[in-house]
Protein backbone atom coordinates (compact mmCIF):
# COMPACT_ATOMS: atom_id res chain seq x y z
CA UNK A 1 0.00 0.00 0.00
CA UNK A 2 2.77 2.42 0.94
CA UNK A 3 4.76 1.33 -2.09
CA UNK A 4 1.96 2.27 -4.47
CA UNK A 5 1.48 5.69 -2.91
CA UNK A 6 5.21 6.16 -3.44
CA UNK A 7 4.89 5.14 -7.11
CA UNK A 8 2.12 7.67 -7.62
CA UNK A 9 4.21 10.44 -6.18
CA UNK A 10 7.05 9.34 -8.44
CA UNK A 11 4.71 9.76 -11.41
CA UNK A 12 4.28 13.45 -10.58
CA UNK A 13 8.04 14.01 -10.43
CA UNK A 14 8.57 12.08 -13.64
CA UNK A 15 5.96 14.18 -15.45
CA UNK A 16 7.52 17.37 -14.09
CA UNK A 17 10.92 16.33 -15.42
CA UNK A 18 9.45 15.49 -18.84
CA UNK A 19 7.66 18.82 -18.87
CA UNK A 20 10.88 20.76 -18.14
CA UNK A 21 12.75 18.99 -20.94
CA UNK A 22 9.83 19.67 -23.31
CA UNK A 23 9.82 23.36 -22.40
CA UNK A 24 13.51 23.71 -23.22
CA UNK A 25 13.10 21.78 -26.48
CA UNK A 26 10.06 23.83 -27.45
CA UNK A 27 11.95 27.06 -26.90
CA UNK A 28 15.00 25.73 -28.78
CA UNK A 29 13.14 24.56 -31.89
CA UNK A 30 12.05 27.10 -34.48
CA UNK A 31 13.02 28.86 -37.67
CA UNK A 32 16.24 29.84 -35.92
CA UNK A 33 17.59 26.91 -33.91
CA UNK A 34 19.03 27.80 -30.52
CA UNK A 35 20.83 24.99 -28.70
CA UNK A 36 19.08 23.67 -25.56
CA UNK A 37 22.13 24.53 -23.45
CA UNK A 38 21.99 28.12 -24.61
CA UNK A 39 18.21 28.17 -24.04
CA UNK A 40 18.79 27.14 -20.43
CA UNK A 41 21.43 29.82 -19.97
CA UNK A 42 19.23 32.52 -21.49
CA UNK A 43 16.24 31.45 -19.38
CA UNK A 44 18.30 31.40 -16.18
CA UNK A 45 19.80 34.77 -17.12
CA UNK A 46 16.28 36.25 -16.94
CA UNK A 47 15.82 35.12 -13.36
CA UNK A 48 16.60 37.72 -10.73
CA UNK A 49 19.32 36.53 -8.36
CA UNK A 50 20.61 33.73 -10.58
CA UNK A 51 21.04 35.90 -13.66
CA UNK A 52 24.07 37.73 -12.28
CA UNK A 53 26.10 34.51 -12.23
CA UNK A 54 25.82 34.00 -15.98
CA UNK A 55 27.95 35.86 -18.53
CA UNK A 56 25.93 36.48 -21.68
CA UNK A 57 27.70 34.99 -24.71
CA UNK A 58 24.85 34.91 -27.22
CA UNK A 59 23.52 37.31 -29.83
CA UNK A 60 21.05 39.74 -28.33
CA UNK A 61 18.48 38.76 -30.96
CA UNK A 62 18.27 35.30 -29.35
CA UNK A 63 17.09 36.87 -26.15
CA UNK A 64 14.41 38.80 -28.00
CA UNK A 65 13.27 35.73 -29.91
CA UNK A 66 13.01 33.72 -26.72
CA UNK A 67 11.44 36.20 -24.33
CA UNK A 68 9.12 37.96 -26.75
CA UNK A 69 8.04 35.20 -29.12
CA UNK A 70 8.83 31.65 -28.13
CA UNK A 71 8.45 31.72 -24.37
CA UNK A 72 4.97 33.27 -24.24
CA UNK A 73 3.77 30.75 -26.82
CA UNK A 74 5.30 27.84 -24.91
CA UNK A 75 3.85 28.99 -21.60
CA UNK A 76 0.46 29.55 -23.18
CA UNK A 77 0.57 26.02 -24.59
CA UNK A 78 1.19 24.69 -21.06
CA UNK A 79 -1.56 26.78 -19.57
CA UNK A 80 -4.13 25.88 -22.24
CA UNK A 81 -3.21 22.20 -22.16
CA UNK A 82 -3.45 22.11 -18.36
CA UNK A 83 -6.71 24.05 -18.32
CA UNK A 84 -8.36 21.74 -20.87
CA UNK A 85 -7.13 18.60 -19.12
CA UNK A 86 -8.26 19.87 -15.72
CA UNK A 87 -11.67 20.85 -17.08
CA UNK A 88 -11.96 17.39 -18.67
CA UNK A 89 -11.04 15.64 -15.42
CA UNK A 90 -13.61 17.67 -13.47
CA UNK A 91 -16.40 17.09 -16.02
CA UNK A 92 -15.68 13.36 -16.25
CA UNK A 93 -15.67 13.08 -12.47
CA UNK A 94 -18.82 15.13 -11.96
CA UNK A 95 -20.74 13.44 -14.77
CA UNK A 96 -19.32 9.97 -14.05
CA UNK A 97 -19.19 9.77 -17.82
CA UNK A 98 -16.11 8.72 -19.80
CA UNK A 99 -17.30 10.69 -22.85
CA UNK A 100 -17.40 13.98 -21.00
CA UNK A 101 -14.90 16.55 -22.20
CA UNK A 102 -14.54 20.32 -21.82
CA UNK A 103 -16.78 20.88 -24.85
CA UNK A 104 -19.65 18.86 -23.45
CA UNK A 105 -21.79 21.42 -21.72
CA UNK A 106 -21.48 24.11 -24.31
CA UNK A 107 -18.70 26.31 -22.97
CA UNK A 108 -16.62 25.93 -26.13
CA UNK A 109 -19.53 26.44 -28.49
CA UNK A 110 -20.36 29.61 -26.59
CA UNK A 111 -16.76 30.75 -26.82
CA UNK A 112 -16.72 29.87 -30.52
CA UNK A 113 -19.82 31.93 -31.17
CA UNK A 114 -18.39 34.88 -29.26
CA UNK A 115 -15.18 34.76 -31.28
CA UNK A 116 -17.04 34.31 -34.58
CA UNK A 117 -19.21 37.32 -33.81
CA UNK A 118 -16.17 39.42 -32.97
CA UNK A 119 -14.43 38.48 -36.23
CA UNK A 120 -17.43 38.73 -38.56
CA UNK A 121 -18.58 42.05 -37.16
CA UNK A 122 -15.00 43.31 -37.21
CA UNK A 123 -15.25 44.47 -33.62
CA UNK A 124 -12.21 46.13 -32.18
CA UNK A 125 -11.68 46.18 -28.46
CA UNK A 126 -8.59 46.34 -26.39
CA UNK A 127 -8.24 45.25 -22.81
CA UNK A 128 -4.74 44.78 -21.47
CA UNK A 129 -3.40 43.59 -24.80
CA UNK A 130 -6.33 41.35 -25.64
CA UNK A 131 -8.51 41.98 -28.65
CA UNK A 132 -12.24 41.55 -29.15
CA UNK A 133 -11.91 37.87 -30.12
CA UNK A 134 -10.69 36.39 -26.82
CA UNK A 135 -12.85 38.77 -24.78
CA UNK A 136 -16.07 37.90 -26.58
CA UNK A 137 -15.11 34.23 -26.55
CA UNK A 138 -14.73 34.27 -22.77
CA UNK A 139 -18.03 36.13 -22.39
CA UNK A 140 -19.78 33.64 -24.71
CA UNK A 141 -18.51 30.68 -22.72
CA UNK A 142 -19.60 32.19 -19.42
CA UNK A 143 -23.11 33.12 -20.60
CA UNK A 144 -23.64 29.70 -22.17
CA UNK A 145 -22.77 27.83 -19.00
CA UNK A 146 -25.05 30.01 -16.87
CA UNK A 147 -27.85 29.34 -19.36
CA UNK A 148 -27.25 25.56 -19.48
CA UNK A 149 -27.12 25.35 -15.70
CA UNK A 150 -30.42 27.18 -15.33
CA UNK A 151 -32.08 25.18 -18.10
CA UNK A 152 -31.09 21.96 -16.34
CA UNK A 153 -32.29 23.02 -12.92
CA UNK A 154 -35.43 21.40 -11.51
CA UNK A 155 -36.44 22.48 -8.04
CA UNK A 156 -33.38 22.68 -5.83
CA UNK A 157 -31.20 20.24 -7.76
CA UNK A 158 -29.41 20.05 -11.08
CA UNK A 159 -29.57 16.42 -12.23
CA UNK A 160 -26.59 15.35 -14.34
CA UNK A 161 -28.64 13.90 -17.27
CA UNK A 162 -30.52 17.21 -17.59
CA UNK A 163 -27.23 19.04 -17.61
CA UNK A 164 -25.76 16.82 -20.31
CA UNK A 165 -28.83 17.06 -22.53
CA UNK A 166 -29.23 20.82 -22.10
CA UNK A 167 -25.51 21.22 -22.85
CA UNK A 168 -25.57 19.06 -25.96
CA UNK A 169 -28.73 20.73 -27.27
CA UNK A 170 -27.45 24.24 -26.70
CA UNK A 171 -24.07 23.29 -28.20
CA UNK A 172 -25.69 22.18 -31.46
CA UNK A 173 -27.76 25.34 -31.53
CA UNK A 174 -24.68 27.52 -31.05
CA UNK A 175 -22.71 25.53 -33.62
CA UNK A 176 -25.48 26.15 -36.12
CA UNK A 177 -25.27 29.87 -35.34
CA UNK A 178 -21.52 29.75 -35.94
CA UNK A 179 -22.04 28.04 -39.32
CA UNK A 180 -24.66 30.62 -40.24
CA UNK A 181 -22.32 33.46 -39.37
CA UNK A 182 -19.50 31.89 -41.38
CA UNK A 183 -21.88 31.45 -44.32
CA UNK A 184 -22.86 35.11 -44.32
CA UNK A 185 -19.42 36.59 -43.72
CA UNK A 186 -17.56 35.53 -46.82
CA UNK A 187 -14.79 38.06 -46.35
CA UNK A 188 -13.74 36.82 -42.95
CA UNK A 189 -14.53 33.17 -43.61
CA UNK A 190 -10.86 32.23 -43.69
CA UNK A 191 -10.09 34.08 -40.44
CA UNK A 192 -13.01 32.50 -38.60
CA UNK A 193 -12.32 28.97 -39.77
CA UNK A 194 -8.65 29.39 -39.00
CA UNK A 195 -9.45 30.60 -35.50
CA UNK A 196 -11.92 27.79 -34.89
CA UNK A 197 -9.31 25.17 -35.79
CA UNK A 198 -7.24 26.36 -32.87
CA UNK A 199 -3.67 27.51 -32.67
CA UNK A 200 -1.13 29.49 -30.72
CA UNK A 201 0.70 31.39 -33.41
CA UNK A 202 1.51 34.99 -32.58
CA UNK A 203 0.20 34.75 -29.02
CA UNK A 204 1.85 37.22 -26.67
CA UNK A 205 2.31 37.52 -22.92
CA UNK A 206 -1.09 39.24 -22.72
CA UNK A 207 -2.78 35.91 -23.45
CA UNK A 208 -0.71 34.17 -20.80
CA UNK A 209 -1.64 36.77 -18.22
CA UNK A 210 -5.28 36.42 -19.24
CA UNK A 211 -5.49 32.61 -18.88
CA UNK A 212 -2.99 31.85 -16.12
CA UNK A 213 -5.08 33.22 -13.19
CA UNK A 214 -8.00 30.96 -14.18
CA UNK A 215 -5.72 27.94 -14.24
CA UNK A 216 -4.23 28.78 -10.84
CA UNK A 217 -7.60 29.37 -9.21
CA UNK A 218 -9.10 26.33 -10.97
CA UNK A 219 -6.28 24.09 -9.78
CA UNK A 220 -6.67 25.23 -6.19
CA UNK A 221 -10.44 24.72 -6.24
CA UNK A 222 -10.14 21.29 -7.87
CA UNK A 223 -7.60 20.12 -5.31
CA UNK A 224 -9.66 21.61 -2.49
CA UNK A 225 -12.71 19.59 -3.61
CA UNK A 226 -10.78 16.50 -4.78
CA UNK A 227 -12.06 14.34 -1.92
CA UNK A 228 -15.65 15.43 -2.50
CA UNK A 229 -15.25 14.49 -6.18
CA UNK A 230 -14.04 11.03 -5.15
CA UNK A 231 -17.11 10.58 -2.97
CA UNK A 232 -19.42 11.84 -5.71
CA UNK A 233 -17.97 9.25 -8.11
CA UNK A 234 -19.67 6.62 -5.97
CA UNK A 235 -23.04 8.34 -6.31
CA UNK A 236 -24.44 11.71 -5.32
CA UNK A 237 -26.79 10.27 -2.70
CA UNK A 238 -24.04 8.35 -0.96
CA UNK A 239 -21.79 11.43 -1.09
CA UNK A 240 -24.57 13.40 0.60
CA UNK A 241 -24.82 10.77 3.33
CA UNK A 242 -21.08 11.06 3.92
CA UNK A 243 -21.38 14.79 4.53
CA UNK A 244 -20.69 16.28 1.09
CA UNK A 245 -22.79 19.31 0.17
CA UNK A 246 -23.45 17.85 -3.23
CA UNK A 247 -25.34 20.66 -5.00
CA UNK A 248 -22.92 23.33 -3.82
CA UNK A 249 -19.82 21.36 -4.81
CA UNK A 250 -21.40 20.55 -8.16
CA UNK A 251 -22.21 24.20 -8.89
CA UNK A 252 -18.73 25.39 -7.92
CA UNK A 253 -16.90 22.74 -9.90
CA UNK A 254 -19.13 23.19 -12.96
CA UNK A 255 -18.47 26.90 -13.01
CA UNK A 256 -14.75 26.43 -12.49
CA UNK A 257 -14.45 23.82 -15.25
CA UNK A 258 -16.52 25.93 -17.63
CA UNK A 259 -14.49 29.05 -17.00
CA UNK A 260 -11.29 27.06 -17.54
CA UNK A 261 -12.67 25.86 -20.87
CA UNK A 262 -13.81 29.34 -21.83
CA UNK A 263 -10.42 30.85 -21.02
CA UNK A 264 -8.58 28.11 -22.94
CA UNK A 265 -10.82 28.43 -26.00
CA UNK A 266 -10.61 32.22 -25.87
CA UNK A 267 -6.82 32.05 -25.93
CA UNK A 268 -6.31 29.32 -28.48
CA UNK A 269 -9.52 28.47 -30.34
CA UNK A 270 -11.09 25.03 -30.43
CA UNK A 271 -8.54 22.44 -29.43
CA UNK A 272 -10.19 19.07 -29.21
CA UNK A 273 -9.18 15.80 -27.66
CA UNK A 274 -6.79 17.02 -24.95
CA UNK A 275 -9.56 17.38 -22.40
CA UNK A 276 -11.02 14.02 -23.38
CA UNK A 277 -7.97 11.76 -23.39
CA UNK A 278 -5.64 13.26 -20.80
CA UNK A 279 -7.81 12.38 -17.78
CA UNK A 280 -8.15 8.83 -19.13
CA UNK A 281 -4.40 8.48 -19.55
CA UNK A 282 -3.94 9.89 -16.04
CA UNK A 283 -6.47 7.40 -14.66
CA UNK A 284 -4.57 4.53 -16.27
CA UNK A 285 -1.38 5.87 -14.69
CA UNK A 286 -2.51 6.64 -11.14
CA UNK A 287 -6.11 5.44 -10.65
CA UNK A 288 -9.34 7.35 -9.98
CA UNK A 289 -8.38 9.26 -6.81
CA UNK A 290 -8.76 12.94 -7.72
CA UNK A 291 -6.20 14.04 -5.15
CA UNK A 292 -3.53 12.60 -7.45
CA UNK A 293 -5.56 12.52 -10.68
CA UNK A 294 -5.94 16.31 -10.76
CA UNK A 295 -2.21 17.19 -10.57
CA UNK A 296 -1.25 14.38 -12.95
CA UNK A 297 -3.91 15.49 -15.47
CA UNK A 298 -2.68 19.06 -15.31
CA UNK A 299 0.94 18.02 -15.97
CA UNK A 300 0.03 15.53 -18.68
CA UNK A 301 -2.23 18.08 -20.40
CA UNK A 302 0.61 20.60 -20.46
CA UNK A 303 3.02 18.01 -21.90
CA UNK A 304 0.56 16.83 -24.53
CA UNK A 305 -0.34 20.27 -25.84
CA UNK A 306 3.25 21.45 -25.82
CA UNK A 307 4.26 18.36 -27.81
CA UNK A 308 1.40 18.93 -30.24
CA UNK A 309 2.43 22.56 -30.69
CA UNK A 310 6.03 21.56 -31.45
CA UNK A 311 4.69 19.19 -34.10
CA UNK A 312 2.32 21.83 -35.48
CA UNK A 313 5.25 24.24 -35.92
CA UNK A 314 7.78 21.78 -37.36
CA UNK A 315 6.14 19.12 -39.51
CA UNK A 316 5.56 21.37 -42.51
CA UNK A 317 7.77 24.31 -41.47
CA UNK A 318 7.67 27.14 -42.34
CA UNK A 319 3.93 26.42 -42.77
CA UNK A 320 2.15 25.99 -39.45
CA UNK A 321 -0.56 23.36 -39.02
CA UNK A 322 -3.65 24.23 -36.98
CA UNK A 323 -3.05 22.96 -33.45
CA UNK A 324 -6.55 21.51 -33.06
CA UNK A 325 -5.92 19.38 -36.14
CA UNK A 326 -2.62 18.10 -34.77
CA UNK A 327 -4.03 17.13 -31.36
CA UNK A 328 -6.74 15.02 -32.94
CA UNK A 329 -4.53 13.65 -35.74
CA UNK A 330 -1.91 12.35 -33.32
CA UNK A 331 -3.97 12.12 -30.14
CA UNK A 332 -6.63 9.78 -31.53
CA UNK A 333 -4.27 7.00 -32.70
CA UNK A 334 -2.27 7.31 -29.48
CA UNK A 335 -5.42 6.94 -27.42
CA UNK A 336 -6.63 3.97 -29.47
CA UNK A 337 -3.23 2.37 -28.93
CA UNK A 338 -3.62 2.87 -25.17
CA UNK A 339 -7.12 1.43 -25.23
CA UNK A 340 -5.87 -1.71 -26.95
CA UNK A 341 -2.89 -2.11 -24.64
CA UNK A 342 -4.73 -1.52 -21.40
CA UNK A 343 -7.11 -4.38 -20.73
CA UNK A 344 -8.77 -3.33 -17.50
CA UNK A 345 -11.93 -1.26 -17.25
CA UNK A 346 -10.91 2.27 -18.15
CA UNK A 347 -13.35 4.25 -16.16
Amino acid sequence: MIKIEYCKRQAVWLLLAVLLIMIILAVAIGSIYISPLQVMKILLFQLPGVGGQIVPNWPESYETIITLFRLPRVILALVVGSALALAGAIFQGLFKNPMADPHIIGASAGAGLGATLAISLGLSLDWSGLGAVPLLAALGAFLTVILVYNLARTGGTVPIPNLLLAGVALSSFLSAMISLLIYFSQDQMHTIVFWLMGGLSGRTWGYVLFTLPYLLVGTCVAIYYARDLNLMLLGEDSAHNLGVEVERVKAILLIVASILTGAAVAASGMIGFVGLIVPHVARILVGPDHRILVPVSILAGAILLLGADILARTILAPVELPLGVVTALFGAPFFIFLLRRYRGPLF
Binding site: R227, L233, L234, S238, N241, G243, V244, P288
Partner: protein
Protein backbone atom coordinates in the same frame (compact mmCIF):
# COMPACT_ATOMS: atom_id res chain seq x y z
CA UNK B 1 -35.78 12.80 28.32
CA UNK B 2 -36.54 13.11 24.61
CA UNK B 3 -36.59 10.04 22.44
CA UNK B 4 -33.51 9.24 20.38
CA UNK B 5 -35.34 9.80 17.10
CA UNK B 6 -38.69 11.54 16.95
CA UNK B 7 -40.74 11.83 13.78
CA UNK B 8 -43.58 14.33 14.03
CA UNK B 9 -46.39 14.91 11.50
CA UNK B 10 -44.04 13.95 8.71
CA UNK B 11 -45.17 14.01 5.09
CA UNK B 12 -42.57 13.18 2.48
CA UNK B 13 -42.10 12.40 -1.17
CA UNK B 14 -40.94 14.00 -4.37
CA UNK B 15 -43.30 16.24 -6.31
CA UNK B 16 -46.32 14.20 -5.28
CA UNK B 17 -46.86 13.04 -1.73
CA UNK B 18 -45.68 9.49 -1.08
CA UNK B 19 -46.17 9.21 2.68
CA UNK B 20 -48.18 11.29 5.12
CA UNK B 21 -49.10 11.47 8.80
CA UNK B 22 -46.00 9.75 10.08
CA UNK B 23 -45.59 9.96 13.86
CA UNK B 24 -43.27 7.63 15.69
CA UNK B 25 -40.41 7.47 18.14
CA UNK B 26 -37.33 5.29 18.16
CA UNK B 27 -35.05 4.62 21.12
CA UNK B 28 -31.31 4.17 21.16
CA UNK B 29 -30.41 0.58 20.30
CA UNK B 30 -33.69 -0.21 18.54
CA UNK B 31 -33.68 -2.45 15.50
CA UNK B 32 -36.55 -1.36 13.27
CA UNK B 33 -37.70 -2.94 10.04
CA UNK B 34 -39.73 -1.05 7.47
CA UNK B 35 -41.83 -3.42 5.41
CA UNK B 36 -44.45 -2.91 2.74
CA UNK B 37 -45.18 -3.71 -0.91
CA UNK B 38 -42.99 -2.40 -3.73
CA UNK B 39 -43.30 1.35 -4.30
CA UNK B 40 -45.01 1.83 -0.93
CA UNK B 41 -42.43 4.45 0.05
CA UNK B 42 -39.86 2.55 2.12
CA UNK B 43 -36.92 4.13 0.30
CA UNK B 44 -38.54 7.56 0.35
CA UNK B 45 -38.92 7.33 4.12
CA UNK B 46 -35.28 6.30 4.58
CA UNK B 47 -34.09 9.11 2.30
CA UNK B 48 -36.08 11.58 4.38
CA UNK B 49 -34.77 10.17 7.67
CA UNK B 50 -31.15 10.52 6.49
CA UNK B 51 -31.65 14.12 5.41
CA UNK B 52 -31.43 13.51 1.67
CA UNK B 53 -35.04 14.50 1.00
CA UNK B 54 -36.56 17.53 2.67
CA UNK B 55 -39.85 16.77 4.41
CA UNK B 56 -42.94 18.35 2.89
CA UNK B 57 -44.31 18.96 6.37
CA UNK B 58 -43.31 17.97 9.87
CA UNK B 59 -39.85 17.12 11.12
CA UNK B 60 -37.34 14.44 11.97
CA UNK B 61 -35.50 15.14 15.21
CA UNK B 62 -32.43 13.41 16.51
CA UNK B 63 -32.44 14.17 20.24
CA UNK B 64 -34.30 17.46 19.75
CA UNK B 65 -32.18 18.60 16.76
CA UNK B 66 -33.89 18.60 13.39
CA UNK B 67 -31.85 16.38 11.04
CA UNK B 68 -32.57 18.70 8.15
CA UNK B 69 -31.06 21.65 9.99
CA UNK B 70 -27.80 19.98 11.02
CA UNK B 71 -24.84 20.88 8.84
CA UNK B 72 -23.84 18.10 6.52
CA UNK B 73 -20.69 17.01 8.34
CA UNK B 74 -22.37 17.03 11.76
CA UNK B 75 -25.23 14.95 10.35
CA UNK B 76 -22.85 12.49 8.68
CA UNK B 77 -21.11 11.93 12.03
CA UNK B 78 -24.40 10.70 13.55
CA UNK B 79 -26.45 9.16 10.74
CA UNK B 80 -25.10 6.73 8.15
CA UNK B 81 -26.99 5.18 5.28
CA UNK B 82 -26.27 2.17 3.12
CA UNK B 83 -28.25 2.65 -0.08
CA UNK B 84 -29.58 -0.10 -2.24
CA UNK B 85 -27.47 -1.27 -5.18
CA UNK B 86 -24.66 1.17 -5.21
CA UNK B 87 -22.78 0.45 -8.39
CA UNK B 88 -19.11 1.20 -8.10
CA UNK B 89 -17.45 1.38 -11.49
CA UNK B 90 -14.31 3.06 -10.29
CA UNK B 91 -11.11 1.31 -9.37
CA UNK B 92 -10.87 2.40 -5.74
CA UNK B 93 -9.42 -0.07 -3.28
CA UNK B 94 -11.70 -1.42 -0.57
CA UNK B 95 -9.76 0.34 2.20
CA UNK B 96 -9.97 3.62 0.30
CA UNK B 97 -13.75 3.29 0.10
CA UNK B 98 -13.99 2.56 3.83
CA UNK B 99 -11.77 5.58 4.54
CA UNK B 100 -14.34 7.69 2.68
CA UNK B 101 -16.55 7.11 5.71
CA UNK B 102 -14.12 9.33 7.65
CA UNK B 103 -14.86 12.27 5.33
CA UNK B 104 -16.90 14.14 7.98
CA UNK B 105 -14.00 13.82 10.45
CA UNK B 106 -10.83 14.36 8.42
CA UNK B 107 -10.21 18.08 7.92
CA UNK B 108 -10.09 19.36 4.36
CA UNK B 109 -6.59 19.17 2.87
CA UNK B 110 -5.58 17.26 6.02
CA UNK B 111 -4.64 13.61 6.22
CA UNK B 112 -6.32 10.94 8.38
CA UNK B 113 -5.28 10.84 12.03
CA UNK B 114 -4.29 7.63 13.84
CA UNK B 115 -7.82 7.57 15.27
CA UNK B 116 -9.28 7.71 11.74
CA UNK B 117 -7.10 4.77 10.73
CA UNK B 118 -8.12 2.82 13.85
CA UNK B 119 -11.79 3.35 13.07
CA UNK B 120 -11.31 2.15 9.49
CA UNK B 121 -9.39 -0.86 10.76
CA UNK B 122 -12.14 -1.63 13.27
CA UNK B 123 -14.91 -1.22 10.68
CA UNK B 124 -13.15 -3.60 8.31
CA UNK B 125 -12.52 -6.07 11.11
CA UNK B 126 -16.12 -6.33 12.31
CA UNK B 127 -17.41 -6.60 8.75
CA UNK B 128 -14.81 -9.26 8.00
CA UNK B 129 -13.23 -7.58 5.01
CA UNK B 130 -9.66 -7.08 6.20
CA UNK B 131 -8.48 -9.59 3.61
CA UNK B 132 -10.13 -7.51 0.87
CA UNK B 133 -8.41 -4.27 1.88
CA UNK B 134 -6.23 -3.99 -1.21
CA UNK B 135 -8.75 -5.41 -3.69
CA UNK B 136 -10.43 -3.05 -6.16
CA UNK B 137 -14.09 -2.59 -5.23
CA UNK B 138 -15.27 -2.90 -8.81
CA UNK B 139 -13.94 -6.46 -8.85
CA UNK B 140 -15.75 -7.61 -5.66
CA UNK B 141 -18.84 -9.81 -5.53
CA UNK B 142 -22.20 -8.38 -4.43
CA UNK B 143 -21.89 -9.70 -0.86
CA UNK B 144 -18.33 -8.44 -0.50
CA UNK B 145 -19.26 -5.01 -1.86
CA UNK B 146 -22.20 -4.80 0.53
CA UNK B 147 -19.78 -5.46 3.41
CA UNK B 148 -17.44 -2.75 2.18
CA UNK B 149 -20.33 -0.28 2.07
CA UNK B 150 -21.47 -1.28 5.58
CA UNK B 151 -17.88 -0.87 6.77
CA UNK B 152 -17.83 2.61 5.20
CA UNK B 153 -21.03 3.48 7.07
CA UNK B 154 -19.55 2.15 10.33
CA UNK B 155 -16.42 4.24 9.81
CA UNK B 156 -18.73 7.24 10.18
CA UNK B 157 -19.25 6.14 13.83
CA UNK B 158 -23.00 6.65 13.50
CA UNK B 159 -25.57 6.42 16.30
CA UNK B 160 -28.19 5.63 13.68
CA UNK B 161 -27.60 3.31 10.75
CA UNK B 162 -30.13 3.23 7.91
CA UNK B 163 -30.07 0.40 5.41
CA UNK B 164 -32.13 0.19 2.24
CA UNK B 165 -32.76 -3.45 1.28
CA UNK B 166 -29.36 -4.61 2.52
CA UNK B 167 -29.97 -8.15 1.26
CA UNK B 168 -32.03 -7.74 -1.89
CA UNK B 169 -29.33 -8.65 -4.41
CA UNK B 170 -27.67 -11.37 -2.37
CA UNK B 171 -27.88 -15.16 -2.24
CA UNK B 172 -29.61 -16.55 0.86
CA UNK B 173 -26.38 -17.53 2.61
CA UNK B 174 -25.05 -14.00 2.16
CA UNK B 175 -28.38 -12.55 3.28
CA UNK B 176 -28.02 -14.32 6.62
CA UNK B 177 -24.37 -13.25 6.94
CA UNK B 178 -25.20 -9.59 6.37
CA UNK B 179 -28.23 -9.59 8.68
CA UNK B 180 -26.27 -11.39 11.43
CA UNK B 181 -23.60 -8.73 11.10
CA UNK B 182 -26.16 -5.94 11.37
CA UNK B 183 -27.74 -7.59 14.42
CA UNK B 184 -24.36 -7.90 16.12
CA UNK B 185 -23.62 -4.23 15.53
CA UNK B 186 -27.01 -3.37 16.95
CA UNK B 187 -26.56 -5.54 20.07
CA UNK B 188 -22.88 -4.96 20.80
CA UNK B 189 -22.43 -1.34 19.75
CA UNK B 190 -25.91 -0.14 20.57
CA UNK B 191 -26.25 1.40 17.09
CA UNK B 192 -29.90 2.05 16.29
CA UNK B 193 -30.84 0.35 13.02
CA UNK B 194 -33.66 1.18 10.66
CA UNK B 195 -33.77 -1.02 7.61
CA UNK B 196 -36.15 -1.26 4.72
CA UNK B 197 -36.58 -4.88 3.84
CA UNK B 198 -39.17 -6.45 1.56
CA UNK B 199 -38.62 -9.99 2.82
CA UNK B 200 -41.21 -10.34 5.61
CA UNK B 201 -39.66 -13.48 7.04
CA UNK B 202 -36.22 -11.94 7.42
CA UNK B 203 -37.83 -8.83 8.90
CA UNK B 204 -39.72 -10.91 11.47
CA UNK B 205 -36.59 -12.91 12.25
CA UNK B 206 -34.25 -10.00 12.90
CA UNK B 207 -36.12 -6.83 13.87
CA UNK B 208 -37.42 -5.79 17.30
CA UNK B 209 -40.17 -3.65 15.88
CA UNK B 210 -41.72 -3.39 12.45
CA UNK B 211 -43.43 -0.64 10.51
CA UNK B 212 -45.77 -1.81 7.77
CA UNK B 213 -46.37 0.84 5.13
CA UNK B 214 -49.35 0.68 2.83
CA UNK B 215 -51.31 3.21 0.77
CA UNK B 216 -49.32 6.28 1.83
CA UNK B 217 -49.79 5.53 5.52
CA UNK B 218 -48.31 3.56 8.37
CA UNK B 219 -50.61 0.57 8.26
CA UNK B 220 -49.22 -1.10 11.36
CA UNK B 221 -46.44 -0.23 13.80
CA UNK B 222 -45.32 -2.28 16.76
CA UNK B 223 -43.66 -5.52 17.81
CA UNK B 224 -43.20 -8.32 15.30
CA UNK B 225 -46.21 -10.14 16.79
CA UNK B 226 -48.39 -7.06 16.48
CA UNK B 227 -47.49 -6.42 12.85
CA UNK B 228 -46.93 -9.81 11.23
CA UNK B 229 -50.35 -11.36 11.76
CA UNK B 230 -52.87 -12.76 9.35
CA UNK B 231 -55.15 -9.69 9.31
CA UNK B 232 -52.41 -7.18 8.54
CA UNK B 233 -50.51 -9.23 6.00
CA UNK B 234 -53.61 -10.34 4.14
CA UNK B 235 -54.97 -6.81 4.08
CA UNK B 236 -51.79 -5.52 2.49
CA UNK B 237 -50.50 -8.41 0.41
CA UNK B 238 -53.68 -10.37 -0.46
CA UNK B 239 -55.27 -13.61 0.60
CA UNK B 240 -52.82 -16.26 -0.58
CA UNK B 241 -50.86 -16.20 2.64
CA UNK B 242 -50.66 -18.18 5.85
CA UNK B 243 -48.82 -17.33 9.04
CA UNK B 244 -46.78 -20.08 10.66
CA UNK B 245 -44.35 -20.16 13.57
CA UNK B 246 -40.61 -20.37 13.03
CA UNK B 247 -39.64 -23.90 14.20
CA UNK B 248 -36.57 -22.66 16.09
CA UNK B 249 -37.24 -19.08 17.16
CA UNK B 250 -41.02 -19.13 17.36
CA UNK B 251 -41.47 -15.82 15.58
CA UNK B 252 -44.22 -15.49 12.97
CA UNK B 253 -43.26 -16.46 9.42
CA UNK B 254 -45.19 -15.98 6.21
CA UNK B 255 -45.98 -19.00 4.07
CA UNK B 256 -47.15 -18.44 0.52
CA UNK B 257 -50.00 -20.29 -1.13
CA UNK B 258 -50.44 -20.76 -4.87
CA UNK B 259 -53.60 -19.24 -6.23
CA UNK B 260 -54.17 -22.33 -8.37
CA UNK B 261 -56.25 -25.08 -6.79
CA UNK B 262 -54.05 -27.76 -5.19
CA UNK B 263 -55.05 -30.38 -7.79
CA UNK B 264 -54.35 -28.35 -10.91
CA UNK B 265 -51.37 -26.44 -9.58
CA UNK B 266 -49.12 -29.18 -8.30
Amino acid sequence: MPSFLTVRDLACGYQSRVLADLNFEIEQGDHIGIIGPNASGKTTLLKTLCGLLKPQTGQVCLEEMSIHKLNSAARARRVAMVSQEVRIDFAFKAHEVVMMGRHPYVPRMGSPSPHDREQVQWAMEVTGILHLADRLVNTLSGGERQRVLIARALAQEPDLLLLDEPTSSLDINHQIEILDLIKELNRQKGIAIIMAIHDLNLAALYCDRLMLIHQNRVFAWGTVEEVVNLDNIRAVYGQSIMIERHPVYGCPQVVLLSRLSPESGR
